[in-house]
Every structure is written in C-alpha cells, then in structure tokens.
Symmetry: C2
C-alpha cells in the first residue's frame, strides 16, 4: 500500500462515494500522513481493520476511476490551465485560468 499521489487525487475526486468512516480513515492515511498504527489508535480499531478499510476504499476509488476517468481528466485540465497561466500576458486570461484552476 503505497502512500502515493494517485490515491490523494482519487480521494479528492471520489471520496464522497465512500462511507463516512472509510473516508475518514483514508483521509488520515493519504492526506494527513498518519501511520496504520496511529490511525488504529485514533479510531480504536485494530491495525488490520485500518488496513482492510484502506484496501476496500482503494478498490472503490480505482474501480470508479476505471469507469469514469475523471481524476485523469482533471489532472490533464490542470496541466492545460497551468500552461495557459504560464504563457499568457493578458490580465483577463490569467484571471480566467485561475478561476478554472479553482474548480479543480
């Protein structure tokens, strides 16, 4: 179970499809960088239960991305808008690109 950027992105896109408990555990692990043991103590469950919850959540997130592909599109859109920001000298375009980035 690698704490990588992929799951941070997927959690951001599809976290609301998890149960409240699953989302909470996944956020503690991926976004706030707590360890399995630390989360187990915080949630008053076993380390194995934390691991099982994360694995289950990862499957839901991966399967949803496989179907919808929104996280990938969001990532490409971010790259596109960042390039617009980099190359534009127009105040108006820069403002629009920043508005676009705020949606991601």
């Amino acid at each position: 179970m690698a704490k990588n950027l992929k799951y941070v992105l997927l959690l951001d896109c599809y976290g609301e499809l998890l149960t409240k408990r699953q989302k909470q555990i996944a956020e503690l692990y991926y976004n706030e960088d707590f360890s399995l043991s630390e989360i187990a103590e915080m949630q008053n469950i076993t380390r194995q239960a934390v691991r099982d919850s994360l694995r289950h959540s990862e499957n839901i997130l991966l399967q949803t991305e496989e179907k919808l592909g929104m996280a990938d599109r969001m990532l490409q859109m971010r790259f596109c808008l960042e390039q617009i920001l980099e190359y534009s000298e127009s105040e108006q375009i820069i403002k629009l690109a920043k508005n676009g980035l705020a949606l991601l």
Copy 2:
C-alpha cells in the same frame, strides 16, 4: 420526465456507473431522442419497464452528482475555457484552450 440537458450532461459524466442495459435505454431516450414507446419496441419490453429503468437511472445519476458535483464543475470549466477562447488573441493560448475543451 423532462428530456432536458441536465440528464444528457449527467449521462455523459456518470453513464458508466449504470448497467449496460440502463445506459443503453437512457442513451436512446436522452441522446437519441426516441420516445418511451419506441424504446419499448426496440428493447422488446413494456413502455412501463422503459419508464422504470429511466427513473432508476435518473436517481443514480442525480445522487452521484449530489455527491461528486463533477457535471457542474465540467460545465463551469467549459464556460471558463470558452471565455479564454473568446478573449485570447494568442495562437498558443487558443490551442491550449481547445485542448482543454476536448477533455470535457
């Protein structure tokens, strides 16, 4: 059951979360503008079964949008990129904005 743009957008975003059959019926109704009776005949089911399938699909699409809000973000992003296209005079920015629109 209004054949409105909202469901066309939601179907585009979340159609893959429906079963193959549900998606097929919803696409015939919303994207290809067939009537309930026409779809019933094509699918060899009753008009009521078509209506039930559409209602069920609409619930799934609406509930998913309520949780994820992707269709709304996509719509706002489209508006933002179209404004960039409208106001920019740089070839490079126009190309980037078109790339962005192609992701939506």
